[in-house]
C-alpha cells in the first residue's frame, strides 16, 4: 500500500521542567502516517516523559504537541495496567466504553491481532507477563488510532511474541498508523523502525533515518599501500572524509560517508586506477550512537 505523507504528530519546541530540573529541552519532532519511529537513550533521558506529554498524561512546560485527537491515540505504558479480576475481553470492553466508538467486533479483532483468544475466560490476574503485554497492546490498537505510543513494547514478550509484535506493527504502519516506540532493545528498534531519535539529557541528540543510504557508510578495502594513497587523494579531491580502519596486517581499509551509490564509487575508483579488494555498505549501528550519547562524564555514566 502506498504511504501518504500526512503528518500524524508534530512536536514543536517542547520543554519540560520539573522542580527546576530540565527533563526535556527544545524537542522538535514530527511523525508521518505509516512511519515507525524509535526513541532510544539512556535511563532517565526523558523518553517516557515525552510519550506521556504526547499522550496527554503529562503537561509540557512550554511548546506544542499537535495531532488529530479525534483519531485517538493508542498507548502502551511500560508496565501493564489491567483489572486482574476480569478476563481479557471484559477489560477491553470496559476501556472501550469510555469513548464508545467501537463495538465487540473490533475488540475481538484486536484480541486476535495480538494472538489472544477472545473467548478465554481466564482472569487477567492469572496471565503471564507476556500475555498481559499482548493484552495491553490490544487495548492500544482496538480503537484503530492514527497514532500509537509504545513504551518498551517487548517487555515480557518471548521471541515469538516479539516476532508477532514486529509483524503487527508493520501491518499497522502499512495501514497508515504513525508509531513511536521507546525501547532499550536496539536490535529490535533497528528492525522495526524507519527512523530513530536518540535522546540524551532531555534533548534530541541525533535523528537517524534507518531506511536511506544517506546514513549508511561505505567500507572499502584496496589491494596495496599505493592504492590506498590514490584512494586518499581521490577522497580528498571530492572532500569526502576517509576514515582509516585497518591496514597493518591486512588490506588497507577505510570508511567513506554515506550518500553515494556503491556502483558509482566502484566505477569512479576503477577509472582512477585504484584496485578495489572489497566494498560494502555498512548498516547503521544504533549501539554506536547509544554509546556515543552515553559517554562517560567525570568517570560515571549519566
Amino acid at each position: 500500500m502506498k504511504r501518504t505523507v500526512e503528518k500524524v504528530l508534530t512536536i514543536t519546541r517542547l520543554n519540560k521542567v520539573i522542580r527546576r530540573k530540565t527533563i526535556l529541552k527544545d524537542i522538535n519532532l514530527s511523525l508521518q502516517a505509516g512511519e515507525i519511529m524509535g526513541l532510544i537513550g539512556p535511563n532517565g533521558a526523558g523518553k517516557s516523559t515525552l510519550l506521556k506529554i504526547v499522550s496527554g498524561t503529562a503537561i509540557a512546560t512550554s511548546g506544542r504537541v499537535a495531532y488529530n485527537r479525534n483519531a485517538g491515540v493508542g498507548i502502551l505504558p511500560e508496565s501493564p495496567a489491567l483489572l486482574p479480576a476480569m478476563n481479557a475481553r471484559q477489560n477491553l470492553e470496559l476501556l472501550a466504553s469510555i469513548r464508545g466508538v467501537i463495538g465487540k467486533q473490533e475488540i475481538f479483532e484486536a484480541l486476535e491481532a495480538v494472538g489472544l483468544d477472545p473467548y478465554n475466560k481466564k482472569a487477567v490476574g492469572n496471565y503471564s507477563l507476556g500475555m498481559k503485554q499482548r493484552l495491553m497492546l490490544a487495548q492500544a490498537i482496538m480503537e484503530k488510532p492514527k497514532l500509537l505510543l509504545l513504551d518498551e513494547p517487548t517487555n515480557g514478550l518471548d521471541p515469538l511474541g516479539i516476532i508477532d509484535l514486529r509483524q503487527l506493527l508493520f501491518r499497522l504502519a502499512d495501514e497508515g498508523v504513525g508509531i513511536i516506540i521507546a525501547s532499550h532493545l536496539l536490535n529490535e528498534i533497528e528492525r522495526m523502525c524507519h527512523r530513530v531519535a536518540v535522546i540524551s539529557n532531555g534533548s534530541i541528540w541525533r535523528e537517524v533515518n534507518l531506511r536511506t543510504d544517506e546514513e549508511q557508510s561505505i567500507e572499502i578495502s584496496v589491494r596495496t599501500a599505493a592504492d590506498w594513497e590514490r584512494l586518499a587523494h581521490w577522497a580528498s579531491e571530492r572532500q569526502l572524509q576517509l576514515t582509516v580502519i585497518s591496514g597493518a596486517h591486512s588490506f588497507p581499509s577505510g570508511m567513506l560517508p554515506g550518500g553515494q551509490r556503491v556502483s558509482e564509487i566502484v566505477e569512479l575508483l576503477t577509472t582512477a586506477g585504484i584496485a578495489i579488494e572489497g566494498i560494502r555498505r555498512v548498516p547503521i549501528s544504533l549501539e554506536a550512537f547509544f554509546l556515543e550519547c552515553s559517554q562517560l562524564e567525570d568517570g560515571v555514566y549519566r
Binding site: I18, K52, G56, T57, A58, L83, A85, L94, L95, I98
Partner: protein, 268 residues
C-alpha cells in the same frame, strides 16, 4: 462521561477487597444486636439497621474506616498503576476526568451503604422480630434517634424511608470525608496520605473530642452526632442537620476545586 463514570465505578467497586464489606457489616450488626440485648429494651428489625449506622463507635471505627481503606486510593492507585495512562487520553478532558472520579467515589459510597444496609437487615431479620413500624425504643430515647435532629423518629414514620435517608446521609458524609485524602493524594502522592491521615484523623477525633477545638479536626466523623455530642458533653456548640449538610457540601466543593486546580496541571 457516562462511559468514564462506569469504568471508574466498576474499577472502584470491582476489587476483591470489597469482599470485606459484608464481613464488616455482619460484625457491626452482631455487635449492635449484642448492645441492644444488654440494654434489655424492646426492639425490632429496624433497630438493627438504625442502631448500627447510628452508633458512634461502629460508624467511625468500622464503617467509615473501611470505606476509606476501600476507596481513598482511587486516584493514587490509578497513577501508580498506570491506569491513568489508559483512561486519561480516552477522557474528554482533565476536569471531566476529575469530576467523574468524584462522582464515582460517591456512587461507590451509596453502593457501599446500600450493600451494608442489606447485610444489616439480613442479620437483624435473623435475630430481631419484624414489625412494620419503628420500635418504642427508636422513637424514644435511643442513642441513634438523636443522631440527626431532622430525621425524627415518630411512631408512624416509614422505616424504609427513614433508613433510605440514613443511608444517603451516611454515603454523603463518608464520601466527603474520603474525598479529603483523595484530593490530597493528587498533591502528595504517598500511600500514607490515603491510609494514615484518615485513620489518624478518626482516632484523634475520638480521643481528642472538643467542640472548642479551633480546627474542628473531628468534625466530619462526628457530623452524625452533633446533637448527641452536645447532650452528653454539655458543650454549647452543636451541628444541626441543615448545618451538617452545608458543611459536607462545603467540604466537597473545596476538595473538588482543589483537585480540579491540581489536575489541570498535574502529571500522571
Amino acid at each position: 462521561m457516562i462511559g468514564l463514570w462506569w469504568v471508574d465505578t466498576v474499577k472502584l467497586i470491582g476489587r476483591r477487597r470489597w469482599l470485606a464489606v459484608p464481613l464488616a457489616f455482619v460484625l457491626v450488626g452482631v455487635m449492635n444486636i449484642g448492645v441492644l440485648s444488654c440494654m434489655q429494651v424492646n426492639v425490632n428489625i429496624w433497630d438493627g439497621v438504625l442502631g448500627s449506622l447510628g452508633s458512634w463507635l461502629f460508624f467511625r471505627f468500622i464503617i467509615l474506616l473501611l470505606f476509606v481503606f476501600l476507596t481513598a486510593d482511587s486516584v493514587l492507585g490509578d497513577i501508580m498503576g498506570n491506569w491513568s495512562w489508559l483512561t486519561l487520553p480516552r477522557s474528554p478532558g482533565r476536569i471531566k476526568w476529575w469530576t467523574v472520579k468524584v462522582i464515582s467515589l460517591f456512587t461507590a459510597s451509596v453502593f457501599y451503604f446500600y450493600v451494608g444496609t442489606l447485610v444489616l437487615l439480613l442479620i437483624s431479620g435473623a435475630c430481631l422480630p419484624y414489625e412494620p413500624t419503628l420500635s418504642q425504643f427508636a422513637c424514644g430515647q435511643s442513642y441513634y434517634s438523636q443522631g440527626l435532629p431532622l430525621l425524627v423518629f415518630p411512631a408512624d414514620a416509614n422505616p424504609i424511608w427513614l433508613i433510605t435517608q440514613f443511608v444517603l446521609y451516611s454515603a454523603l458524609a463518608a464520601g466527603a470525608f474520603t474525598l479529603i485524602p483523595v484530593a490530597l493524594s493528587l498533591v502528595i502522592r504517598k500511600s500514607y496520605v490515603v491510609a494514615i491521615i484518615p485513620t489518624a484523623w478518626i482516632f484523634l477525633s475520638h480521643f481528642w473530642q472538643s467542640n472548642r477545638f479551633f480546627f474542628r479536626l473531628d468534625l466530619i466523623p462526628r457530623l452524625f452526632y452533633g446533637v448527641h455530642f452536645m447532650s452528653t458533653s454539655g458543650s454549647h456548640e452543636s451541628i444541626t442537620f441543615a448545618g451538617s449538610l452545608l458543611y459536607i457540601l462545603l467540604v466537597i466543593c473545596a476538595c473538588y476545586s482543589i483537585g480540579a486546580l491540581v489536575v489541570r496541571k498535574a502529571d500522571f
